[in-house]
Amino acid sequence: MDFELGGTREIVNGELLRSVERGMILVKINNKEYQIRVLKSGSDNFEFILDDTFYTAKIIKSESSEVRLSINGRTHTIKQHSKLAEILEKSLSLTGKVGGENILVSQIPGRVVNILAAVKTEVKKGDSLVVLESMKMQVAVKAHKNGVVKELRVKKGATVARNDVIAVIE
């Protein structure tokens, strides 16, 4: 399977070969074999010794083709490339029409302190639609594309979480 490191174009191939003995696992990454001593294993929390170095890995978020994880507290994003992932991605982009690319989500959690756009009005990419307040800071949620505001999903005073839908722009 191929993995791409977020923020770079670096692609590596990795596969799990087999269990060597109790707690030892053999993997092959970029044609080099590594023995991993697994010390802790859970659905999103792993501890292992690889190349004589101890690592704590925590899976932060895992989606069909992307994993966000931290290694010893440093956060990274790894994209996965495989036939299946490609198919999955395609099927997602097909259904994307209905929501996906038209949906504007909030990147931060906060309370809605101001609404600057109205339904059925035209907006340009980068226009501020809604102002959120969080930790005494005011942050604008900006249109991610040109289009017409089809729906506004938030009201003044409401609380939104990260990734909540703010508006639909067509």
Binding site: T8, S43, F46, Y55, H76
Partner: protein, 501 residues
């Protein structure tokens, strides 16, 4: 004159509330916390001797609710109130309301707060006391001739500022007289249109400014002391990020000379308790007074580490009417301390706030390391209050030792569930200009620190590539096994990938 405080209400939350609670513990004073609905499980509630419910999460209904706080303090018989920083700490009515209710306010009196809180009033008082200001007009100027006269004295370039402006708005730069005349016309017209009158003033434009401030303490007996300087030049949008003491540009003579000015400034307003005199230092080594902050500051620990003085306990003893127990010449500055303000913000995404539950965190320890924080595994970082979640302060015998200790401690520091500014500080601690003490308030932009941070992050990711891929492979295997063993209770299906070999 001395009234021993038996119980003290902390009118704040977060790390500073915990800081004050600890000081109370050391002094044998009963600490009283107050909390909003958002803070029922906050560490200040856990650690205080008593904790009283204040109100809904919104600051105006809780930590800014001055009447409710006084009501609780009166009801529970608190002898004193410590305001911390932020919230009500610089509200000039707070000390008076306290004293009306027979409560000792740990801070200055109302008159001093009124003066320090009003730029123009403060300037007038300080000028009388011969405190140096940034050269410029005394107040609002009447016409362009006055502006050019002042600019000629102060020297170009100058800034033309609107009295109604703020936060960088309404500021114009003029490099010579001709430009000043042009800008004046435009600024006056703009100001008149917006506010009905042309309230402008002229100020010398300072370049490569450093923000250097002095810790002050003054007691009820008129004794004033300074506890040396802190350099707080590394800022982002006027918010301090890194503070240190001593400043890399201060020698002993300058330290004492400016320190005396700082103490004089405190005397000029009959200041009581702990405060900070803030100065700008230009690239030629001139110091200009800006203002007095009439409260304990976020960055007070760096002063504590280099002087060995516990400022919060000193605040309490001064508020009790006790005299400062040391003379100026008793104080000495040992080693160096650096503080990083760890905010719950995403430095890779324009410092947007990051809130939520912190399922786990690792707080660094070890020689020279102090962490003031309200974080603990399972705590919540709330969006209702400010984003400072921890202060990492490292002492070393010199700048270099405190720098490497800070760097190592940052590597040990992990906070799960939220984004923090830790990666930014890791970048700064290794940056050449920082190492050379080449600081200014535009440090981040001048040396393209954020770009550097992004590059460092990519480099780190490359280093972690093999373990990261390994972790993903291990996880696939784990999930596959979980499936085949039907361990459905601990496995949430649909979350992850299937191993496809």
């Amino acid at each position: 004159m001395v009234k021993k405080i038996q119980s003290l209400l902390v009118a704040n939350r977060g790390e500073i509330a915990l800081r004050v609670i600890r000081a109370c513990g050391e002094l044998g004073i009963k600490s009283i916390a107050i909390y909003s609905d958002e803070d029922t499980r906050s560490v200040h509630v856990k650690r205080a001797d008593k904790a009283y419910y204040l109100g809904p999460p919104s600051p105006s209904e809780s930590y800014l609710n001055i009447n409710k706080i006084i009501e609780i303090a009166t009801k529970v018989g608190a002898d004193a109130i410590h305001p911390g920083y932020g919230f009500l700490s610089e509200n000039e009515n707070f000390p008076e309301l306290c004293s009306k209710n027979g409560i000792i306010f740990i801070g200055p009196k109302k008159p001093a707060m009124e003066i320090t809180g009003d730029k123009m009033k403060c300037k007038a008082v300080m000028k009388k006391a011969d405190i140096p200001f940034v050269p410029g007009s005394e107040g609002i100027i009447n016409d362009v001739e006055e502006a050019t006269d002042i600019a000629a004295t102060a020297g170009y370039p100058v800034l033309l500022k609107s009295a109604f402006g703020g936060g960088g708005r309404g500021i114009r730069l003029a490099n010579d007289e001709k430009q000043l005349r042009q800008e004046f016309e435009m600024a006056a017209a703009e100001s008149k249109a917006a506010f009905g009158k042309a309230a402008l003033y002229v100020e010398k434009y300072l370049q490569r400014i450093r923000h250097i401030e002095y810790q002050l303490v003054r007691d009820a007996h008129g004794q004033g002391r300074h506890l040396f300087e802190r350099e707080c030049s590394i800022q982002r949008r006027h918010q301090k990020l890194v503070e240190m003491s001593p400043s890399p540009v201060m020698d002993k003579e300058t330290r004492n000379r400016i320190g005396e000015i700082a103490v004089r400034a405190a005397e000029a307003v009959d200041y009581l308790n702990a405060g900070t005199a803030e100065f700008l230092r230009d690239e030629h080594g001139n110091f200009y007074f800006i203002e007095i902050n009439s409260r304990l500051q976020v960055e007070h620990p760096v002063t504590e580490l280099v002087t060995g003085i516990d400022l919060v306990k000193l605040q309490i003893s001064i508020a009790q009417g006790e005299a400062i127990p040391f003379k100026q010449e008793d104080l000495s500055l040992r080693g160096c301390a650096i503080e990083c303000r760890i905010n719950a913000e995403d430095p890779f995404y324009d410092f947007t706030p990051s809130v939520g539950v912190v399922p786990n965190c690792t707080i660094p320890y070890g020689p020279g390391i102090r962490v003031d924080t309200y974080l603990y595994p399972g705590c919540t970082v709330s969006g209702y209050y400010d984003s400072l979640v921890a202060k990492l302060i490292a002492w070393g015998k010199d700048f270099e030792e405190s720098r490497v200790r800070t760097k190592n401690a940052l590597n040990e520091f992990t906070v799960e569930g939220i984004n923090t500014t830790i990666p930014l500080f890791k970048t700064i601690m290794d940056e050449d200009n920082f190492l050379r003490g080449e600081l200014s308030t535009d440090y981040l932009e001048r040396f393209k620190i954020l770009e550097r941070m992004n590059r460092v992050a990519v480099e780190n990711s490359k280093k972690d590539l093999i373990p990261a891929v390994s972790a993903i492979l291990l996880r696939s295997e784990f999930i596959k096994k979980s499936h085949s063993y039907q361990k459905s209770t601990s496995f949430r299906p649909g979350l992850g990938w299937q191993s496809k070999g």
